[in-house]
């Protein structure tokens, strides 16, 4: 049913319809509305689940780890420092192959403290063995959760659904929240394997000496790569059942004829699409490649779709300090070294710590790369605030 609804609330409603058995979370802005809503959904009996109020994100992650290992469909939500505090558990969950789903309300990382949006937090855990799906808007954010549980449980890999903090979590916009029957028809009940159960004693979380560890990581890496199939399949099935596209590996917008291709992910693509239309009216051919699944990274798709594109600009809300654009380097790595040496792949860092990204900023970016490739630029950087020695 289509509603004008806050993003967090939409996500909470949809997660509840996925019938998690155990929810555990610790409050942190801007994730709070999601877990508040879930708490009340459990509280008023609409969802038969255990909601565990813990004393830290670390414990929240640990509780869902334990719950999942005991056969529960388990869910949590966090962001920023919370996610970093969890990071030890995050790696552990992946290594133990527990199909847990998290919502990440993307937010900047201290210091300095910033409660506002960017994507450095989930980026920091991109190598943890979690599937990371990025939502463009609240409809997709909601839809991705339904898909996430299915993907996780089929691949035995945990999934983070990333949605930009405030920009999506706190935005009211129309969202079609599917009814319970639809969700049930798409998402079967959790059939756990490998759980702790006295009837079939199992050892979970054994330690591996050097004879075995390397192989366990190889297997996990391959599992991430292989999950591509499932992610695409689930997205297609979703489209069939619910009649709308969301998720998958990548999406494109006005790409075919584009001379300049913008690559980005998350809520920023909405603004970019508006810009693309404006520029089109002005006679400029600009297209968009949107990364939906950041991990596993859609290397082949990126290459195949952009084989013949010579001017590419990546704009992202995170940075590998001392290295530059993270998404940008993933994109650059997607093209074989040898061919098309003259292809330009520019890298822009934008919107860190909630800095507003306007169409004008993006327009400036496009105009710039039309002239020359940009190795790395912070979009909308106020040089006047920076001492000479710090430049």
């Amino acid at each position: 049913m289509l509603k004008q609804i806050e993003g967090s609330h939409a996500v909470a409603e949809v997660v509840a319809k996925c019938r998690p058995n155990v929810i555990s979370a610790y409050p942190i802005t801007p994730q709070t509305h999601i877990v508040e809503d879930l708490a009340s959904i459990v509280g008023n009996g609409e969802l038969d689940a255990e909601y565990v109020n813990v004393e830290s994100e670390f414990s929240a992650a640990s509780v869902v780890l334990g719950a999942s290992a005991a056969g529960a469909r388990a869910y949590s939500a966090t962001t920023s420092q919370g996610l970093l505090l969890m990071s030890e558990v995050i790696y552990c969950i992946a290594g133990m192959r527990l199909p847990i789903v998290f919502t990440i309300a993307n937010r900047a990382i201290s210091a300095p403290l910033s409660i506002w949006n960017d994507q450095q937090d989930s980026m920091a855990l991109r190598d943890s063995g979690w599937i990371q799906l990025h939502a463009e808007d609240n409809q997709e954010a909601a839809d991705l959760h339904i898909q996430a549980f299915k993907i996780a449980e089929e691949t035995h890999l945990p999934v983070m659904v990333c949605m930009d903090g405030f920009i999506l979590t706190h935005a009211f916009e129309p969202v079609d929240v599917p009814d319970q029957k639809q969700v049930d028809s798409f998402l079967p009940p959790f059939q756990p394997t490998n759980i702790v159960d006295p009837r079939w004693p199992r050892g979970i979380g054994l330690f591996a000496d050097p004879r075995f560890y390397l192989e366990t990581r190889y297997i996990l890496h391959r599992a991430m790569e292989k999950s591509e199939k499932t992610i695409k399949k689930v997205s297609q099935d979703f489209a069939k059942t619910f009649g709308r596209d969301s998720g998958g590996f990548i999406k494109t917008y006005k790409l075919k004829k584009a001379d300049v291709v913008i690559i980005s992910m998350g809520s920023l693509v909405g603004t970019i699409k508006d810009l693309i239309d404006q520029l089109e009216d002005e006679g400029k051919k600009v297209g968009l490649l949107q990364i939906c699944s950041y991990r596993p990274f859609p290397r082949k798709e990126v290459y195949n779709t952009l084989k013949n594109k010579m001017n590419i600009v990546v704009v992202e809300k995170s940075i590998s300090l001392g290295r530059g654009g993270i998404l940008a380097s993933d994109v650059r790595w997607s093209f074989p070294r040898h061919e098309k040496k003259d292809r330009n792949i520019s890298s822009f860092i934008a919107g860190l710590g909630g800095r507003n990204i306007t169409k004008n900023d993006l327009r400036h970016m496009v105009e710039k790369v039309e002239k020359e490739p940009v190795e790395l630029e912070f979009l909308g950087l106020k040089k006047e605030l920076i001492a000479k020695k710090d430049l």
Binding site: N21, V22, S24, D48, A49, E50, V52, N53, V54, E55, S56, F58, S59, S62, V63, V64, L65, G66, A67, S68, A69, A70, G71, A72, A74, E88, V89, C92, M96, V196, D197, P198, P201, R202, G203, I204, G205, L206, F207, A208, D209, F212
Partner: protein
């Protein structure tokens, strides 16, 4: 609450649910304690184990020593993981099952302190067992907040300057229904306490003194005797706190001076060498005396 007969509680259990083939040192108090605990709890048990000596020597792939379901993830989160297991069993309407979170003193009182406090405060139906060997043994005997005054560890080479954190009382102050202390020498008492704890709904805490021959510097054959001296000197009081009330305090039959306990252990040997520290020994005796008075041992 207490649904078991006294004789059931006092029965000794030997089921080898924490089986042979673990890699602990000879005479390991923790291995002994772990078996006594799992055997008392029985097959219908889920062990949530913190990283540490116990976990490392008992759970290597492909031949772990556990025969009950075993779940380990990290050093500091056994309590939270157990909370999750318990929540899952509630949510899935499964059980009843004995969920036992367990770990060494470091994972309990130091890095896992927040986690265990949370578990207590939330009232999960979980038993937490702390195997107290008074230092970080897994990593090579570094000081923990359970390391007693005067004890030498690799990070307190001249002897620990502080007194031991008193977790049982801290646990009791969470208002949980059952807290007990025990040692491996009195397996009857230890197993009775495990069974009693498991017969009570809510969070439970059992604190077991588990000597580490390597870290304490005594021959493995003395593990049991060292425990006895710890009790008879008054350095390790044995008691239960049920619903906040101190009960079943073990009386010392013949009080032993702390020297007898300290002398057996290499970690205290520096206190006796010439230029040793009678002052420290006196202070340790003072600690024992305070216990004797406080718990009326």
């Amino acid at each position: 609450m207490m649904n078991q007969s006294a004789e059931e509680l006092n029965k000794i259990e030997k089921k080898d649910l924490f089986g042979s083939g673990h890699r602990a040192c000879g005479g390991c108090g923790q291995a002994l304690a772990a078996r006594l605990v799992q055997d008392a709890s029985g097959e219908n048990t889920i062990a949530c184990v913190a990283t540490g000596c116990l976990e490392v020597f008992s759970s290597p792939y492909p031949d772990p020593a556990w025969r009950v379901p075993f779940l380990h993830s990290l050093f500091e989160n056994a309590s939270a993981v157990a909370s999750g297991v318990e929540a899952a069993y509630k949510a899935l309407k499964k059980g009843p099952v004995n969920i036992i979170a367990q770990g060494g003193d470091g994972s309990t009182a130091d890095i896992g302190f927040q986690s265990i406090s949370g578990m207590f405060e939330r009232g999960h139906n979980v038993l937490y067992v702390c195997y107290d060997n008074e230092a970080y043994m897994n990593t090579g005997v570094q000081r923990s907040s359970f390391t007693p005054l005067g004890a030498r560890t690799t990070t307190t080479p001249t002897g620990n300057k502080t007194r031991k954190k008193n977790l049982p009382l801290i646990a009791a102050d969470h208002g949980i229904p059952y807290v007990a202390t025990a040692t491996v020498d009195d397996f009857r008492d230890l197993q009775r306490k495990v069974k009693t704890a498991l017969s009570i709904e809510g969070p439970k805490y059992i604190h077991i003194l588990a000597p580490c021959p390597l870290g304490w510097g005594h021959p493995g054959e003395l593990t049991v005797q060292v425990c006895r001296l710890a009790k008879d000197t008054g350095l390790f009081p044995i008691y239960e706190i049920i619903d906040g009330k101190l009960t079943n305090v073990r009386k010392i039959q013949t009080k032993v001076p702390v020297q007898e306990y300290l002398k057996l252990q290499g970690r205290f040997s520096h206190l006796f060498k010439k230029g040793g520290s009678p002052k420290v020994i006196a202070e340790i005796q003072e600690i024992a005396n305070q216990n004797i008075e406080r718990f009326n041992l």
